[in-house]
């Protein structure tokens, strides 16, 4: 799997995927996008990275990581329902905080965004669980395996 083509491609595409994923997540409220889509792209980036280079350095911690990420996402989503009960009449109502970053504009912060973040994390966790099973992750070095180079047949 770790051919030079894939690895070269990964060096360019993976950051793009990760950034696009986050961008889609952040713009989801006003333009097509949102937690699901952003998470899908982000996860694509991670998977591409895994196929190209492995995910070195975290293999020992990896087995439960994806599920933990997913669980954190679920907890965030659940927590996002609570402020509505405290600050407004019903739990689950959206509570918005106005933050101004001056020249950067006013990012929307509020419980629906927190919920979307929870969805984001959960979908990433889920896709990683299913597509990058623990036994596929190892500490292999990230250089291409010389035996699979295309020229050496």
């Amino acid at each position: 799997m770790r051919t030079p083509i894939i690895q070269t491609g990964a060096r360019w595409v993976v950051p793009l995927l990760l950034l696009t994923g986050m961008a889609l997540f952040v713009r989801g409220h006003d333009a097509p996008g949102g937690g699901f889509i952003g998470a899908l792209l982000f996860a694509c980036g991670l998977i591409y990275q895994h196929y190209a280079f492995g995910l070195p350095g975290i293999s020992r911690a990896y087995p439960s990581r994806p599920l933990q990420i997913g669980a954190v996402g679920l907890i965030l989503a659940a927590v996002s329902f609570l402020p509505g009960g405290w600050f407004k009449e019903e739990t689950g109502q959206g509570v918005w905080i106005g933050i101004s970053l001056g020249a950067f504009g006013d990012p929307k912060t509020g419980t629906p965004v927190l919920f979307d973040l929870g969805v984001f994390l959960l979908v990433i966790g889920m896709i990683l669980t299913v597509l990058v099973p623990p036994h596929d992750v190892d500490d292999a070095p990230s250089e291409p395996n010389p035996q699979t180079e295309v020229g050496h047949r």
């Binding site: 889509i37 899908l40 669980a71 919920f115 669980t129 035996q147």
Partner: protein
Amino acid sequence: MAIPVLLGFTALVAILAPFLRRGAATISIASSAIVFATILALPWPVEFRTPWIPTLGIDFSFSVDAWAALFLLLISGIGVVIKGFAAAYLPDRQPEFYGKITLFELAMLGLVSANDLVTLFLFWELTTLASYGLIRWKGDTKANKAALRAWWTTGLPGLVMLVGLIGLKAEGIHQLSDLGGATPPLWALICILLGALAKSAQVPLHFWLPGAMTAPAPVSAYLHSATMVKAGVYLVGRLVEPLQQHPAVLTALMALGLATLLWGGWLSLFQSDLKKLLAYTTVATLGTLIFLLGCGTPTSVHAAVSVVLFHALYKSSLFLSAGVLEKKFSAKSLDAMSGIAASMPWLAAVVWLSGLSMIGVPPFGGFVAKEVALKAIDSSSFWFRGFALGQVCIGASWVALAWRLKGPGTPKAAPLGLQWPLIPAAAGLALAFFLHPLANRLLEPAAQALLPGDPKVGFELWHGWTLELAVSAGIVAGAFALGLWFSKRTSSEAYATNEGLLQRFLDQLIEQSQWLTARVQTGSLRRYLKLLLLTAALSVAVLAPPLAWIEPAGQPDGIDLLLFVLAISSAWAACVIRTRLGAILTAGGVGVVMTALFALYSAPDLALTNLIVEVLTVLVFAVMLSRLPKVFPVRKPSSHYRDLAIGLGAGLVFAGIVYACSSPPFGSQLSEYFVANSPTGAKAQNVVNAILVDFRGIDTFGEIAVLLCAAVGASFLLGRRSPASSHAKEPQA
């Protein structure tokens, strides 16, 4: 206010006890004693109510009338005895034991005092949970199996009971006290009865009770004679009044109770193991209780109330005596009983005290109960004869036990701390002398709480020379005769293989399920898919209401037709292509067409999601293909045609659903509301996202929770594969 305080206090003890290294027994016994004294002093009826989930009509409400008070006193009073006994009987792991048994006590206390239906169910299931932990105390395989069996046999009907409770709530009945005013639906009452009868070990769901005898003696004495099995009786008692309008159900209860009485009594005669004998007589007495409640008259309810009280007393002392026999003489079976009377006279005295109450000899409490019971049944009916016969069997099995106790033996010192069985046995006798105050304070109000009315006869030690007295005498005589006859034979040869029958039935069941599983779960994905599609399509096609042919609105234009052709040809290609990779790619093509369709009809979020998912799926499949052969295997044409038929059929059904759902009339108030409120309330221009995340956030939450569960399941499946040998394979594209 007293009730939640008592419950909270017991809960505290239950939580703390496992951590106390030495005081666990004392504090647990003290807590039971405090509860007992408080309940005794309370001027019932007492109520407590606090709202919990008002929108669903659920309160945390308790109501203690005399019927509940009777049970509360039994639970806490006998609890004191049991816990005291256990202190000497179970020398090790005491803190853990006291934690578990206090938890169970809490569950029972909450159950009988609960008024709100959901609170009731909460404590009901807590008893199931606590009793599971107690039955498997010894930790060996037999105990675990018995505990699981008890769990399933009482837990599944408990779910049926939940359905019944929800049915009641749907009719607006949220508390047990509401049952009197409104007319509850019959099906809901039957569901509740099912759960209660399983808990009270009625035939045919009785077999978990003898199996649960692997628990230590104090546990058996507490759970399976005095408290847990009576929980069902408690609930049936509450239902007697609403069921007055359904005499058929009451008659069915009578029949079930009598059947259980006879079955349990008959089988108890053939038991050689002492605790199993007691278990079967308990089953029989529970049958008696259900029978009496099913009679549904004020007299029979009075009888049931007194049987509850006195049975708890004599049965618990009998179980505890069995524990003493086991511990001090290692005597578990009836064969080993001889000489005990000479060795430990006080133990023989306990057995006789409780046994005479069980048989119904005056002046014991059991006699009082039996007299009222006999009066409650029409003496000319076959119910009466069956009832008497059952009582004879119960008595006979005790006589068989009691008679074996005699014989030569060396006197042994009375073991300290194990003499608790004396208390309930003596109480059974003593209370009979305090019958009038007892009846006025407890028994009479309890019966009136269940079914107001005048009984034919009150609680007396002596009613005069009546027919019932003669029948009682006949029962006692018959019990002695039958019991003596049984005691002459060695118990092992008369051992009925009730256990064997049950075991064979269970083995058959397991064999059948394995056969079925082997046919259905073959491991072939194609087969699973076929089954899923068939079932889904058939059930929808059969159950869906007839849909009129809806006129299509508008004509498809060029782009639509192009996309249609592309989709069809991709699907066709996917069916026909021989290589796996090609099939994946062309199937992905259908997904791409769908994406184009979404984009065309201005659903950009959907299109984006669909596209990414499609690409991901194709990629992952392509990677996995490196582990599979390149080409599909050759199959018979007939199987191809069968698959084609299933696929086409399912596809047509689903297409029909989509067509029917997307045709007018189409209420647009929802979309108008969302479009109008998104920019302002949800601060979002992307309405779809606002709906997902804000307006219908809880739906989305449910969906992602399901996603996480699926991921957990997948991680288990994937984690079981052996680690891949190497990553150096490259896909053979």
